[in-house]
């Protein structure tokens, strides 16, 4: 923040300077009108003099607008550049943080920080700078002008009511903001309710619950009205009291100033100028209040942002990390136990196995058996204990993260894809991939035929603004994205679950061909994905309970066999 202000110091200095100048110009306006009036009442006015005064007013008007406009623009620009830089920093910072960080926070919350907190800081920075400079100097200049040219007493007495304006703003502002937030909350509660209710409309009809739903909806809507009225009353009082205070000041000026004029303590022109000054400073006074509120909000936002930016990634390169550019693909796991940070529960216990380069390992087990955790440890999404997992004989805790993750191609369970084109998704890890490489990867992942059926082919936009891929298609695009890395180790984390049986068979055959010399780990819920593996590990409650090839495990009549029998019956008519 401070650094930013320093880099922009010239812009800010110019802006503030030109705003101050503009205020000095603008306070001449009532002064000139006052002189005009005095000349008039002295009878010294001629048509040349009138033209002269009018011209002076014109010059003042133009100069003020120019100077103030330039100042505003400069400040506004700096503020917006700051906003940009802060978001950029946040994004880069977030990219560096580990998964455990995200498990504790909702994305909605983080977005809120990135959008609203950043904006609050910017508003205080640019709007605040404008208005505060403007208001403070206008106030000072006005006071100076009225003190020196009119009457100190008149100024003091008539200004009493309007000096309450900023107090009023500071007091009412947060109240109104709270009230309006409550309205917003009620509104989104209603929208959420509507969405939920309409998504379940079949159920509602099926159970004849239409009236119950209408009543529930009605309560939500009534709540909106209630809160809205609450807010409106508050803001109506607020909106009415500022002009009230202004008018009160004005009436004091009228009476007291009038009396002073009548008793010839001040001239008519001074009286006229004074009323104009009063009109001039009501807005800035109001703005001072807003700026105080803005600053309060912004300092809270800034504090939140500072906390965000001070978070440190939990998985980092160790000081003695070594580079491992040419991984062969041997994996050795000797894990006593693993539990997630801040948890008592042992997710994995006594896991030991080794994989030779070129082997395929299947890992099966129920939901919650610890399969995904194992994959997470290999990838150092969470750090395993030291001395637990080795790649090519090197403890992965001592490998440069970048090299480790370059050596592993990972396919996530949900087939997470970005909302860009299919080609960009497949080439995610390889910016320099040629169209034919991308095509080949799609073909290898058995998804190419479906892609070319889209009008735009590989350039089809996916996600909200494009086509929605089915679960199986997503998973296969994610597989293509991993295949194009051609990495020595590949992990498929239950990434065939939504692919139909026939395609799965073809895919696995293709994978076997492609990855003859490379290591492949297949985590699966459906056993058919691992039949062919060199070794299958059966996990249950964090432990390896069975291991062997498919045939060996079938003979054993254990968990694997039970799962197998169940799933054979399951295939049903959907084939």
């Amino acid at each position: 923040m401070r650094q930013y202000l320093i880099t922009k110091k010239w812009s800010y200095t110019t802006a503030i300077f030109s705003i101050i100048l503009s205020e000095i110009v603008s306070v001449q306006f009532p002064h000139v009108l006052g002189e005009f009036t005095d000349a008039l009442s002295r009878g010294a006015l001629t048509s040349v003099l009138i033209a002269h005064y009018a011209f002076e007013l014109l010059v003042i008007g133009i100069l003020y607008v120019l100077l103030y406009g330039v100042g505003q623009m400069l400040n506004g620009r700096s503020g917006r550049i700051f906003e940009y830089q802060l978001r950029k920093r946040l994004f880069e910072h977030w990219e560096s943080l580990s998964t455990d960080y995200y498990q504790q926070r909702s994305i909605g919350d983080l977005l809120n920080h990135a959008m609203n907190d950043v904006r609050a800081v910017r508003e205080a920075l640019s709007g605040g700078a404008n208005i505060l400079t403007n208001a403070v100097f206008l106030l000072l200049a006005t006071l100076y002008m009225t003190f020196t040219t009119i009457s100190v007493q008149l100024t003091f007495i008539s200004m009493i009511p309007i000096l309450l304006v900023p107090v009023l703003v500071v007091w009412f502002g947060p109240k109104i903001r709270t009230a309006s937030r409550e309205v917003q909350e009620a509104l989104s509660a209603m929208a959420e309710f509507t969405e939920e209710s309409l998504s379940a409309v079949r159920l509602i009809k099926a159970t004849a619950s239409e009236e119950v739903e209408a009543q529930r909806f009605s309560r939500k809507v009534q709540e909106i009205v209630k809160r809205q009225m609450h807010m409106v009353k508050r803001s109506a009082i607020f909106q009415s009291s500022i002009p009230l205070l202004g008018s009160l000041s004005f009436s004091i000026a009228l009476l007291y100033g009038g009396l002073l004029t009548v008793s010839h303590k001040i001239l008519l022109g001074q009286f006229v100028a004074f009323t104009l000054y009063l009109a001039m400073i009501i807005t800035p006074l109001q703005q001072i209040g807003f700026v105080i509120n803005n600053f309060q909000r912004a300092s809270a936002s800034l504090a939140r942002l500072r906390v965000l930016l001070s978070a440190r990634p939990s998985v980092v390169d160790s000081k003695t990390a070594i580079s491992l550019p040419h991984v062969q693909g041997a994996i050795e796991v000797k894990l006593d136990f693993f539990r997630y940070p801040n948890s008592e529960h042992k997710v994995l216990e006594g896991i030991a196995f080794s994989v030779q380069p070129g082997q395929t390992i299947g890992i099966v087990g129920r939901t919650g058996a610890g399969k995904t955790t194992l994959a997470n440890l290999l990838l150092r999404v969470f750090d395993p204990p030291r001395g637990a997992i080795f790649i090519d004989g090197v403890d992965i805790r001592d490998v440069v993260l970048r090299d480790l993750r370059t050596a592993i191609a990972y396919v996530p369970q949900d087939g997470f894809l970005f909302s860009t084109t299919i080609a960009e998704n497949i080439g995610f890890a390889k910016a320099e991939a040629t169209p034919s490489e991308l095509m080949q990867a799609a073909k290898d992942a058995m998804v190419y035929e479906e892609i070319v059926r889209f009008k735009e082919g590989m350039n089809t936009q996916i996600g909200e603004r494009g086509v929605t891929l089915s679960g199986g298609q997503k998973q296969r695009v994610a597989i293509a994205r991993a295949l194009i890395k051609n990495a020595p180790i590949m992990i498929l984390d239950d990434s065939l679950s939504a692919v139909d049986m026939n395609t799965e068979k073809m895919l696995i055959t293709r994978l076997k061909q492609l990855r003859t010399k490379k290591t492949t780990l297949i985590i699966a819920h459906r056993l058919s994905a691992v039949f062919h593996a060199d070794q299958i590990l059966v996990l249950d409650e964090g432990r390896i309970v069975e291991r062997g090839t498919h045939e060996e495990l079938l003979q054993r009549f254990g968990i694997y066999r039970t799962l197998y029998d169940l799933q054979q019956g399951e295939q049903g008519v959907t084939v």
């Binding site: 950029k88 309409l198 009415s240 006229v272 054979q568």
Partner: protein, 600 residues
């Protein structure tokens, strides 16, 4: 071509205006409030126009006039304060009253809209995305309310104050007033021009900002993938492109708005200079008094606010017309299925179902069911099997009267279901589907679907019947546990058990299970099956199953193929017949599953 476009445009505008008129009945009960608001605005405006006039009198008569009276000055100040207080009061009442009317109108429109949408037949929901419907209910109505509040208010308040200012000016001095009139079109023009630029700039910024938000949201969700593929740098660059383009648009928007405000201010300053020039001459030649000139300066400055705000309302009007049009289109859609005028009371029958030559198509000309005829005896257990798309689910939708048959009829206990009220029919037929809808709320309310006449005891009883009680009691607050959005804190199996408990509590005489267990993994299915079997006792039960083992024990199995019943009979009969059923069985290895289901 140009003419054409403007014709279309005015057509749209006319339609929008029409739609707004159609919504006026919602406002009628608040006619009195609107009249009151109008009166209050008149008072408020009168007070603000009076203020400079009072100062003029004070200056011309009491301060600089030939006969100076301090008493007069006190009197004028007193009147001034009174006028101010009256104005403030009128303004406050006006704001509150208008909002009250506007909010109540919107409440009514929303309720009407929501109940109307819920009354629609399922066909309606096939063609209308839920997201869009939600927008109609939440934001379109909000936009319409701006018509009743902002637009109405501005037209009356700003229009009136403009008129009053003009009248006052002409009353003071016709010549200067005449010159001042030239300002009005200039201010309008400048405002209108800038408004358009501002709107475009604003929209650009908004769009770019939402790009930033979308990208950020997605990348936070997928940060693991980015890290795993080591693409932090590239993603940061992509973010930078969006972020920077937003910054550019944002700065541009600010520039335009600064320019707009400053230009208006400039106009005001020039106008004042001109008034001094022209009016000064008049004062010099004693045509007017100085106070009059002073009042003119105030009035000229007052010009700007109402005109600026009036030009703003053009946008409000347009968007509320569009919104009204959308809302009205929904309100005017008649439900495809309506209840008979004289509905037949549903008798306490047994649950006999007859399909009599039923043909059905979702889209005309594409029949999904062809001439279906069958009878299901009360209390029997019937299975429907067939490949995906064979028409199994359509049969159930017709029975629930989610859709209307194209030909033929469906009888429940010997009465055509079209003679019943839809709600009565659905109270006696219960359906459990593959995807379970969860409402945000407690487990208790999710089971009884917020029907408060169902007691907690009844709910617990139902949960026990289907075997859901065990897991519910293990939840942190038992039946009072809040379920997170979309049931995030429940497993698939638990959600499915909740759905069974829902049905058990409704106690329907006919039960439909539409692939109710398909999404469960093999182990969960086993214990769900148990709940299901208890539920089926003493009811007519129709089961669609993709695992043939589920329907093995059925009294009768209907095999559907391309919308026709191709085989009927019990498992052993059909298996012996060596038809489609036998093929399906062999494909799915039902024999191996049989071993397990007897072990259950």
């Amino acid at each position: 071509m140009k003419r054409n476009a403007s014709n279309v445009k005015s057509g749209v505008a006319r339609e929008g205006a029409n739609s707004l008129l159609h919504l006026l009945p919602f406002a009628r009960p608040y006619a009195l409030q609107f009249v009151l608001v109008f009166g209050l605005i008149v008072i408020y405006n009168a007070t603000s126009v009076l203020q400079p006039y009072l100062v003029k009198i004070a200056i011309d008569k009491e301060i600089s006039g030939p006969h100076i009276h301090t008493r007069g000055l006190f009197l004028i100040t007193g009147i001034y304060v009174l006028v101010v207080l009256l104005g403030v009061l009128a303004n406050y009442l006006q704001i509150v009253l208008l909002q009250y009317a506007g909010q109540n109108i919107i409440q009514k429109i929303r309720l009407e809209l929501f109940t109307h949408i819920e009354r629609q037949a399922m066909k309606f929901f096939d063609g209308n995305a839920i997201g869009r419907l939600v927008t109609h209910v939440s934001s379109d109505t909000e936009t319409i309310s701006q018509f009743f509040t902002q637009f109405f208010l501005s037209m009356v308040r700003d229009g009136l104050s403009l008129v009053m200012i003009v009248v006052m000016m002409f009353a003071l001095n016709v010549r200067i007033a005449f010159y001042a009139m030239f300002l009005i079109p200039i201010i309008f023009l400048v405002s209108a021009l800038f408004r358009k630029r501002l709107r475009i700039a604003y929209q650009t910024t908004r769009t770019r900002l939402s790009n930033v938000v979308a990208f950020l949201a997605e990348n936070l969700a997928g940060v693991r993938i980015t890290q795993m593929f080591h693409q932090e740098y590239r993603q940061a660059q992509r973010f930078d492109v969006l972020n920077r383009s937003h910054q550019t648009a944002n700065i541009h928007e600010y520039y335009v708005s600064v320019q707009f405000n400053r230009v208006l201010e400039l106009l005001g300053n020039v106008a004042v200079a001109l008034v001094v020039w022209v009016g000064g001459g008049e004062v010099l030649h004693k045509v007017i008094l100085f106070g009059t000139l002073y009042a003119f300066i105030s009035y000229v400055r007052q010009f700007f606010t109402p005109i600026n705000s009036l030009t703003q309302q053009w946008n409000t009007l347009q968007s509320s017309m569009v919104a009204a049009d959308r809302v009205l289109r929904i309100l005017q859609t008649k439900p495809a299925i309506e209840d008979p005028l004289l509905p037949q009371e549903i008798k306490s029958g047994l649950g006999k179902i007859v399909f009599d030559h039923v043909t059905f198509a979702y889209k005309q000309g594409e029949n999904v069911l062809h001439d279906l005829t069958f009878t299901i005896e009360p209390g029997s257990f019937v299975g429907f099997v067939g490949a995906t798309g064979a028409g199994k689910s359509s049969v159930m939708s017709l029975l629930m009267r989610f859709y209307e048959v194209s030909e033929g009829r469906i009888l429940l206990d010997d009465v055509d279901i079209r003679h019943y009220r839809q709600q009565d029919l659905r109270r006696v037929i219960g359906i459990v589907q593959q995807d379970v809808q969860i409402f945000s709320g407690t487990v208790l309310d999710n089971i009884r679907l917020f029907q408060t006449q169902i007691t907690e005891e009844q709910v617990i009883h139902a949960a026990k019947i289907v075997g859901a009680d065990d897991f519910i009691c293990k939840l942190p607050n038992g039946y009072q546990t809040n379920i997170l959005a979309k049931g995030a804190n429940l497993s698939m199996g638990q959600r499915q058990l909740l759905a069974f408990a829902r049905i058990a509590v409704q106690n329907p005489r006919v039960l439909i299970l539409d692939e109710a267990t398909a999404s469960l993994d093999s182990q969960t299915e086993q214990w769900v099956q148990r709940g299901l079997q208890t539920l089926a006792v003493d009811r007519t039960t129709l089961v669609i199953a993709h695992r043939l083992s589920t329907v093995r024990a059925a009294d009768q199995i209907f095999v559907l193929d391309q919308g026709r019943i191709v085989e009927t009979g019990s498992h052993s009969e059909l298996f012996a017949a060596r038809g489609l059923y036998r093929q399906l069985c062999e494909k799915s290895g039902v024999e191996s599953a049989y071993v397990l289901s007897t072990n259950m």
